[in-house]
Symmetry: C2
Amino acid sequence: MASTPRRRQESRPSLSRARVLEGAVRVADERGVTAVSMRKVAEELGVEAMSLYHHVANKDEVLDGIVDLVFAEIELPRDEPDWRAAMRRRASSAREALLRHPWALGLMDSRRTPGPATLTHHDWMIGRLRQAGFSLSRTARAVSTLDGYVYGFVLQESSLPFRTPEELEGVATAMVDAFPAGGYPHLTEMIRAHALSQGYAYAEEFAPGLDLILDGLETLRNAPC
Amino acid sequence: MASTPRRRQESRPSLSRARVLEGAVRVADERGVTAVSMRKVAEELGVEAMSLYHHVANKDEVLDGIVDLVFAEIELPRDEPDWRAAMRRRASSAREALLRHPWALGLMDSRRTPGPATLTHHDWMIGRLRQAGFSLSRTARAVSTLDGYVYGFVLQESSLPFRTPEELEGVATAMVDAFPAGGYPHLTEMIRAHALSQGYAYAEEFAPGLDLILDGLETLRNAPC
DNA sequence: ACCTGAACACCGTTCAAGT
DNA sequence: ACCTGAACACCGTTCAAGT
């Protein structure tokens, strides 16, 4: 009787919640969130879909779990005396993690059960700002402004219709050519005179916008109540 | 022979791309994006799933289309002399539209084909800032900072684990109680001393954070190159 | 205890057939 | 021209059966 080879049992560690989530992240990275099905994650792990249910309750828990894994990748500097430098490092690490896993932002609006890494992240943000002298309510404002900027910036960045400098010229030219005559004059100018002539530089907008916010927060920090 | 009643043909206008998209928005609003299937949208319209394919190419076009419909709901003030006031009105209108349709943010990271309302929106942003005296490259920075803030703020707002002031107390208390002893001390303080004592006020953080950014942009606008 | 085959109620999409 | 039934290759999840 010819049985299928038992590749997994011989070459891989047994299943666990962590391995299920890692497999799901790999599927999402390689084929997009829409490809994250219990069957595909199982296949990635060399196992049957039904086996996953021994380690996670359902697909929702998988989605919560992979968002938390992305948060776990964000650096939270512990030894940075300057609060603005600490926030800059956290923000650029967050941007990198979210660009590595752009599906995470798409999941965030539907996730309502923060995992341990997410909670640790929020705790660090609040703690570091408190330590810098922000009052509780000013800390709340600072967190929402900073996180808002980071998430929103990456969301725009990952919805740009091109991924590499090489793609930019082709896509931008084709897009402008497809505009109805006289439609979107300002957008056309921006694409022609700025984006196309200066090359692909969207990423370079991240730091200046962030500094603008940090400067505003520094003023807030020192303002009399 | 008992045929099923032809409700649609008698009581409803015939199908069109616009009606398909409106149906999809209704399904997404009422039952979440995950419920937006060709079959459910068709059911919402009193029609069979296969009929939709005469008006849209595939489900991807439906998703592109409903994101564009959300952009179409955002007010773009045409008669506001003060650029900051114009940006404030646009931003709060955008926040409202995105809160009405929170699934739109979740779709944005995977949409790469902007529709006419999205293009009109970007064209307005660029045009209004240019008119206020921003250079092309400063306009690019202003747009990415402002849109980033708005999208990110609403993304945080819609991933809060509560929807109403009533829910806040129960959810926040339960969450803090579930924390491991000594874990997340700063987050606990924030929830206990700020969020719970001052009531549900996250929405009130939107305008101050936005003003902080607008002030920074005003400085940028006037700075020597 | 952990894994899985079969089953059920769903998906998106094609295609040939109806009107 | 527009609509649809049947079909195909997928989904998430349950449950009973295997080891």
